[in-house]
């Protein structure tokens, strides 16, 4: 094999791509239903729907790019047998490649945004041999400058370069899309593509700017260990998106099958299912999550041999967290599906199918499940933002994402002590907050639109 890298497949990577596949399949089957198409058209016929969807897609694509992991090949050491190839112990992702060297530019400790010097005073030896107490220069941040006075001019110049790069890329892609749209003539009223393009252009410009500047300066400073805050925040996207989607995905089969069974078969099945979810609801959610996570941690520590690299351990813990979060939140969906199935199974066409001797499985598959699909989809979107927000709280309690994994929760946690330092360190909180807020806000706005479009009367419990 001549590969210069070795792919690393994490469990969560597999699951997220399965999820993408499932959602695509779902959309494909839903497209055939004219009523569903009309509903979705309603969502996308608003400017807000278009823009928020583009933002969500941008987050999702970053998360997907960050889910393609590999270990790059190490250059052969001196006197080493050339047949044997060694791989680096750090696991990288495709996103890391796109961001350039942003993740590798490690400083010693805190530094403020665009700063050339460290945040802490240290003892420095000058050329004459004296020891001076001053702010040491950063190893990477802004070191391409010839003199510190050029900084302002350089920032303006590089900003232009980055923005133009992003805009150029965006306009090419938008142009291609425009051409495709122009060719396919449809009799439907046009969707507000211009707002989607505008959002896309803004995102690309920001991304271009961040990548250009992030490789020259520390745009959002560095954290205590000297990692670039911007890079950490961007890596947090994968954690946020995955926790919002996987937690629901993992337990959705349970919720769907139990909910339909309870509503369809009634009798003792219904009693049993209701008993299960009432029991689970009555346990305080946070405590159940905390207890389960702690127990899983004990298990991981007692079985270290299952994990090859540190990231795999963090990933297993993350997956367990998703699962546990799902277990505590599937009950709402299950209850809704049960109620809806109860209603549908009384309808005439289901009764008629019974009379024709259609099997239970066939009835559920043909007549009941398709009529529940919008509830499943809406609750998937509605749960998302709550789960992203919950991650931060769980990390604060100490049962969240592994500290080895970048996450907004972990970043926000440190912020309360960092803020009160002198001068206060705000950039960690700001970085995590802005990215998290944008994602949650877009999802909330989008899910509102979806909810309105599908059923103005459905009362889904919004947290």
């Amino acid at each position: 094999m001549d590969l210069a890298f070795k792919p690393v497949v994490l469990w969560t990577d597999v699951l997220i791509f399965i999820l993408v596949g499932l959602v695509s399949f779902f959309i494909y089957t839903l497209r055939r239903n004219p009523e569903n198409r009309a509903r979705w058209r309603e969502v996308f016929s608003t400017k807000l729907g278009m823009s928020t969807f583009v933002i969500i897609m941008a987050y999702v694509s970053v998360a997907l790019l960050d889910s393609l992991h590999f270990r790059s090949e190490l250059p052969p050491a001196e006197g080493q047998d050339s047949e044997q190839v060694y791989y680096s112990n750090t696991v990288n992702s495709v996103l890391d490649l796109m961001l350039g060297e942003m993740g590798e530019r490690q400083e010693r400790t805190y530094s403020s945004p665009f700063s050339l010097k460290s945040w802490n005073r240290e003892n420095i030896k000058t050329e004459t041999g004296e020891t001076v107490r001053d702010y040491p220069e950063l190893t990477y941040g802004g070191q391409h400058l010839e003199s510190p006075d050029d900084k302002a001019l350089d920032i303006v110049f590089q900003s232009f370069k980055g923005l133009l790069l992003g805009l150029a890329l965006a306009s090419i892609l938008i142009g291609i899309h425009w051409l495709i749209l122009k060719r396919s003539q449809s009799d439907q009223p046009a969707l507000p593509w211009s707002s989607a393009w505008l959002t896309f252009a803004v995102i690309m410009a920001i991304f271009g700017w961040l990548v250009t500047m992030g490789n020259l300066y520390h745009v959002l400073g560095t954290d205590q260990a000297g990692n670039d805050t911007l890079y950490e925040s961007l890596k947090g996207i994968r954690t946020g998106v995955l926790i919002g989607t996987l937690a629901t995905l993992i337990t959705m089969p349970i919720a769907i099958s139990l909910g339909i069974m309870a509503g369809y078969f009634r009798g003792w099945v219904d009693d049993a299912v209701q008993y299960i979810y009432t029991t689970l609801i009555s346990i305080p959610g946070l405590l159940l999550i905390a207890a389960s996570v702690l127990l899983f941690q004990v298990w991981i520590n007692n079985n270290p041999s299952y994990f090859e690299v540190g990231l795999e351990k963090a990933d297993a813990k993350f997956l367990a967290l998703c699962f546990i979060l799902g277990i505590t939140s599937w009950t709402t969906l299950c209850r809704l599906l049960r109620a809806e199935t109860l209603k549908i199974s009384q309808l005439d066409y289901v009764q008629a199918a019974h009379a024709f001797g259609v099997s239970h499985l066939q009835i559920i598959w043909r007549h009941i499940l398709p009529n529940l699909s919008h509830i499943i989809l809406i609750s998937f979107v509605l749960d998302f933002s709550g789960l992203v927000l919950a991650e931060a709280v769980l990390s604060y309690i100490g049962v969240g994402v592994d500290p080895a994994m970048a996450s907004w929760g972990n970043m926000i946690n440190l912020a309360s002590t960092e803020l009160s330092r002198e001068p206060s360190i705000w950039w960690n909180l700001a970085g995590a907050f802005v990215l998290m807020f944008t994602l949650v806000l877009s999802v909330n706005l989008f899910s509102d639109l979806v909810n309105d479009a599908f059923d103005p009367k459905t009362k889904l419990e919004t947290a």
Binding site: T279, I283, S385, A392, I412, A415, L419, M436, N444
Partner: protein, 325 residues
Amino acid sequence: MLVYILRRLFYALPILIGVNVLTFLLFFVVNTPEDMARAHLGDKYVTEDAISNWIEEKGYDDPLFYNSESEGLNSFSETIFFNKSLKLFAFDFGRSDEGRDISSDISDRMGPSLALALPTFVVGIWVNICVALMVLMFRGSRLDRFAVSVFVTLMSISYLFYIIVGQYSIAKLSKLVPVSGFNDGLDGWRFLILPVIIGILAGIGAGARWYRTLFIDVSGQDFSRTARAKGVSEAGVLFRHILPNAMLPILTGVVVVIPTLFMGSLVMESFFSIPGLGSYMLDAIRAQDFAIVRAMVFLGSVLYITGLIMTDISYTWADPRVRLN
């Protein structure tokens, strides 16, 4: 009514047993006491003796369900299941891993928790309903749409962010109130005012939005239209027709929370160092003190079920059509 309550209590029993068995399985079967001991004493350099000492000290050395060494009923009572799980039903929580009596800790800490949670809850609901009613006055206007977008924005901000920024700007920068701490008696308001305000602010987005949807549902119904048509003022419609009819869904969401207020808020209490049950749980989780976690899980479920029963009873008070039998 009494018969109804008794029957509901009887129905609650299987659920509590379910909770009990589930926690038992989680804490003793999935992870054996030996695993716990290892986790507590550290993974490396721990001798078998130290582990068995720890297990014996905490009383985890009995068999799980059936003790074949004892006789008669004792073979059931001298087991972990009996001592650690069934005794919870008698509110006998036993001792924490540090050796403190959990029951007395809980009763000491309920007060401070309630001192924080009750004002946040009551004033919070009042503020949410007032905001929602005000927005309802301008239904369909630009102001309404603006208010809804503000609600969604407020909802999208992490709870932690409210606390961190609130504590930093009000207590640390402006020095208006102490940063954290607690004091019994009336003097304690200085410590509580900031967390209460932050708690209310953090809840406005989701709360007011929920009430607004509720009120809009009710105000679209025929009786509201009739009331307007016969010349009742807008305020009259709001308070005499919409609010009472929205009472049932409001109670469904609100009453169930009341008993769980005793449990306090995990995050808020730890940020403001209030010695309530929330910070108690947090400390237990961080110290991996599973005895406390088990006790709190059970207590929480009891309180939640109490809340459900209270909700049903409150329906009869809010809606004369509802009869419990």
